[in-house]
Amino acid sequence: MDLKDISTSVPRKDHKGKVSGQLAYISDVKVENMVYGVLYRSPIAYGKIISIQLPNLPEGYEAVGAEDIPGPNYVKIIKEDQPIFANDWVNYIGEPILMLVGGDLNILYSLLDEVKIELEEHQAIYTLDKAIKQKSVPGVNMASYEFGESLEIISAIELKAHQIIEEEYDTGYQEHVYLEPQGMLAIYKEDEIVVQGSMQCLYYIKNALLSALACGDDDVRVVQSPTGGGFGGKEDYPSMMACHVAVAAKAVKKSVMLVFDRSEDMVVTTKRHPAKLKYRTAIDKDGNILSMCVEIFLDGGANVGLSSVVLQRALINSAGVYKIPHFHSKGYVLKTNTVPNGAFRGFGAPQSFAGIESHIGHLSKLANIDPIEYKRKYLVKQGDPTITKGNFRDPILMEEMIEDLLNASDYKKKKVEFQTFNQQNQRYKKGIGTSLFLHGCGFTGSGERDHIKATVKLVKSKDGKVILKISNSDMGQGIYTTLSKIVAKELDILYEKVLYPDPDTKEVPDSGPTVASRTTMIVGKLLQRAAKKLKDQWQSGVEQEVVEHYVHREMIPWDEKTFTGDAYPAYSWGVNIVEVEVDTLTGNLKLEKVYANYEVGKVIDDRVMKGQIDGGLAQGLAYGYLEKMTSREGKIQQKSISDYGPPTSLDVVTIQSKVFDNPYADGPYGAKGAGELTLIGGAPAVQAAIEDALQTSFQQIPITPEVIIESLWMREGEEG
């Protein structure tokens, strides 16, 4: 492929089928002898099942439950704490208890209404605050880590400090709202169950099925359907659905389809963890930071799931992009009897960055220094240690990116203009805010080496086509395009000659899950190496195959127990500047301008990257002021899209963005991770802009109109 620069955009591989709607997502698939499944779910948040009484089932309708599971009754993720079908205790409203299967969905739904259950209800923990109070009760603390400077040293520093600043910051749920609801189909064959659906991680699902079905490697096969958005929501959750349909298919000897409607999807699937973050910072009389202690509490929901790993990332990012003297950090995943929380683009980092950017912003006010200048004083530089005693060994371009964005946005001039505007206007107030952030690319610590052990395969056909055999999903982020392009360029063949069919575990080795901003950097690099090898051995007219395995670049080894070492092989970076106008009468917020600079090593495709920037930022900005999900007595209160409020085309504005080149030696053509980074800076920048407009401080996101109005009233009360 003759591209001078790898970044030059090429047409998307999957464009045609998508623009015409003729690409079949899982809900578009029909197979012979297919029945539907619907789940009977726990009506209470915590209790013991005493008895279940099923209605008389018409012919062709059957119930499937825990007793039909050939293997152990849990969804294999990390810990064995998530039942496939709860048959003893239930831990949250909506927990699956059994499945009814049959030919007609309407009949199934009316049968569901007739299921009778007797439960012994127990005292549930509904909120994170309650869980924090009860964290020493056995079972509540599901995971915790602590690291950093010794608390004795920090106490000594605090004793001599001019002031100790303490803040408590809360972040809410975030719901993925992928446009395609979750769906999974198990195709029943005598010697094999084929599970097909919307997913990010084929081998997570396969491993969960091997356990649940207690079967051999050849007895089960996982195929990805075109996936209508994931954002982490289709990382862990589909494993449970796959177990449901596969167990049911085995039991009734028919193919079973389980597709959620929107309200079911919103109420029972995983979400971004609500969090409480506590900061305790010692400052001197000029407002300089002397020491900082951070405590993070994540609401895990009813099962630990991936939460311990989410907490790790939250903690590793707890100091943001700053070199803080004498830093100590500690965090917990706490159990509540609410829907389990899981992976969501950013994976713990958005909570941490929202919190630390807010705190540092507030400290800058005390020091009477412009936030961006205050932040720059503490910015990490190449060669600095990370808070886990790792090292920022690659060049860091943040200074250059900040300077560029300050110019692009005319930041200093806007600050003055907005001040004047705000003095002259009673009702509308304008503000400008910044955020600085990074994202560690790939799995935390030695995950790639110890757990994932990725393998990729390239197959060349006789007629010179090259097929990617990897287990990574294109869920819209564009890897069919970018990874094909890497291979085409390396082999110097036409992009059209590179094929990347929907992955199928029967055909592809385990190249790892499609998560953690690892795909381009880790899998892309492996593919590049495989392509190089293939090129060296290329023979026309014959079929050839090459395989490559992950090789770990040893740095400062990661030790999860002491929480030290290099947490990530590389980091991507970002700066956002946001301008807002707040209507102080209604509390409504208008985004006026959004500027964004990023550094992701090297962009593999400009257009795909821009898609990640715009889409990620839209989610990140909305996390800060628009998207609000709440749970009341264990029940999610927002059951429809408009109750929840993800952005529409009218909420978003044109985003002025630029990506800086800084090639990374271990990434393909220098590429690092990009997909999650783009979300992280949105919320903190929006908060800073609102604070600038209203000259006040907030201790939470989302900052909805209600929060704004309440804050204005409180201020009026204080002033009046």
Partner: protein
């Protein structure tokens, strides 16, 4: 028996009058381009034309479409207008996961037919009933703006 026109073809159904048009399109006629994203008229993934007006097919009971002219994405796929939208969406990078796209394309066509040279604000308004979670909309707005320019004159023709 309810009779109507679907993509130019006269069709009839004995499904109950309360059945959703969306299900009829997908289940009876096996046209998969009309997607279900919410079932409550909030996301626009199931957008179709009912007598040339953009509608959410999940909200339409078929009892109300007797004699109506229904057009789905499959009904416009062969038109010049679709080709222009297809190309513009590709160049602008308007497609990511693709699930909202057929509905978005229908909304784009409806907008451009009504207003062949929309401003950015008019485009944002025109697709505000169609949710997209991947793109943040800007590249879709750009696609529609490109299609307007490229389709110069074409959109006014019926």
């Amino acid at each position: 028996m309810i009779k109507f026109t679907l993509n130019g073809r006269k069709v009839e159904t004995d499904a109950p009058a309360t059945a959703r048009l969306l299900d009829l399109i997908r289940e009876e006629h096996l046209l998969i381009g009309t997607k279900e994203g919410c079932g409550e008229g909030e996301c626009g993934a199931c957008s179709v034309f009912v007598n040339n007006l953009l509608q959410n097919s999940c909200l339409i009971p078929i009892g109300s479409i007797e004699g109506a002219d229904i057009v789905t994405i499959e009904g416009i796929m062969e038109t010049e207008q679709f080709k222009i939208l297809d190309e513009s969406y590709s160049i602008a990078g308007g497609v990511q996961c693709g699930y909202c796209i057929p509905g978005m394309v229908m909304a784009s066509a409806a907008l451009l037919t009504k207003n062949p040279n929309p401003s950015e604000a008019e485009i944002r308004e025109g697709i505000s009933g169609n949710l997209c979670r991947c793109t943040g909309y800007n590249m879709i707005v750009d696609a529609i703006s490109k299609a307007a320019k490229k389709g110069d004159g074409l959109w006014q023709r019926k």
